[in-house]
Subunit: 219 residues, 2 copies
DNA sequence: AATTATTTTTAGATTAATCTAAATTACAGT
DNA sequence: ACTGTAATTTAGATTAATCTAAAAATAATT
């Protein structure tokens, strides 16, 4: 069982290593967790002993499979709470991080599965980052701004960057919602506005500003 | 600023002193927070220095006004989370405590005010205990067993003593719920059973046993 | 390749919260 | 008022997480 502090180190290692690929240096980790390198040296030896990272002196660390699983559990909790805060408590997406940093450490498997269901099993957080499922599986298809797609390509709306009431109301008006199937019909080079088709039904025009604030996953 | 551990001590002192009235002994407190008396001795000296309790050696402790305020903030959070867990995440009454013990320590004034609004500003938790408002004010009208009321008096159901599924199902069947308006129509001296009217609508009979397990607040 | 600079690790201290064991104080019953 | 028991406090250790300062290893530069 990891302490709250150990969880934070592990999560930082996971993020800095971009999902477990790169080696993470002591100094980089110290900055990420706001401690001194000496403290990190101590801690990574403990985490190595616990089996969640592999560490060789002076060579930095990597998460093990076990560590990755633990990190993803914390990340899952963090992102689910963010969804809750934005969707139900009207937080802005730039206000949620600090609170989610605390909520992510609450220990209750039941709580997190119920929260997931309550939120409708979302697969992205308010920033568009994917939410790992209960097994740790993560949807790895990257999310792009709708504005970046070229005519002819299709995808699904996964998130919005701007979650202000004004923007959400506008989305409503357009008939655009999380999960909606969209296809880019045309793109105006001059102002980057677009013509898109929603759910193979209605065709609408959207401005560059709107297209930048909609995150999609290409098919 | 109090640590999480200090908050737990303070909350325990508040509860054991029944809202700040009685002196709390070292041993009682040790049992409540699952530590040894020696640890309590250390901690209460620290809490005294911090000004949240007043302590004289060998005489036990009492919360100060400042301490009471801090304790009520934690209790407010605890009970609001309990409401959330039961009403929105389908927890049972007996499952919420452990999780709420963790959630009560989350630090974010914005979060707790938004949660309060989201829940519709409830004034009792799922066990019927009153929820202090943001200023710490608590509904202080005492709760009585319904059985203690005399014919003619009216009140609101605030809690149940027995929260077993059997009893709750019986409550449902009777149409009695937390917050229901009730009026005592008649009382049988012989067996202490009662005739009561719920929400000025339906009139029912309840046994002494049932009337003892329903807590009401008189109007 | 040698020297300097940077990064990382170790050694030794510190703080918060806890414990056991021993000492002290309060209380209760004769 | 005395004495034994119970409650409480102190003393000294322990554990987790941190720090500073110094030592060791690696990397960079001439």
């Amino acid at each position: 069982m990891l302490s709250l502090v150990e969880e934070n180190y592990l999560k930082a290692i996971y993020h800095l290593s971009e999902g477990g690929h790169l080696q993470v240096s002591t100094n980089a980790l110290a900055e990420a967790v706001h401690t001194k390198p000496a403290s990190v040296s101590d801690m990574i030896q403990k985490l190595d002993r616990k089996g969640v990272i592999s560490y060789t002196k002076y060579q930095g660390v990597k998460v093990t499979d076990e560590g990755k699983e633990a990190a993803l559990k914390v990340i899952r909790k963090h992102r689910l709470w963010e969804v809750f805060l934005v969707k139900h408590l009207n937080f802005n997406w730039d206000q949620v991080h600090e609170v989610a940093e605390q909520l992510e450490h609450i220990r209750s498997p039941l709580l997190i599965e119920r929260l997931d269901a309550f939120l409708g099993h979302p697969n992205v957080d308010p920033h568009g980052d994917p939410i790992p499922d209960a097994t740790g599986a993560i949807n790895t298809k990257p999310q792009k701004q709708l504005q970046q797609l070229s005519p002819g390509s299709e995808g699904v709306i996964r998130a919005v960057k701007d979650s202000s009431p004004e923007f959400l109301q506008h989305m409503d008006k357009l008939g655009a919602y999380l999960g909606a199937q969209i296809k880019v019909m045309d793109k105006v080079a001059f102002d980057s506005s677009m013509k898109i088709r929603i759910d193979r039904a209605t065709t609408i025009f959207i401005s560059k500003e709107v297209a930048q604030n909609i995150l999609v996953q290409e098919n």
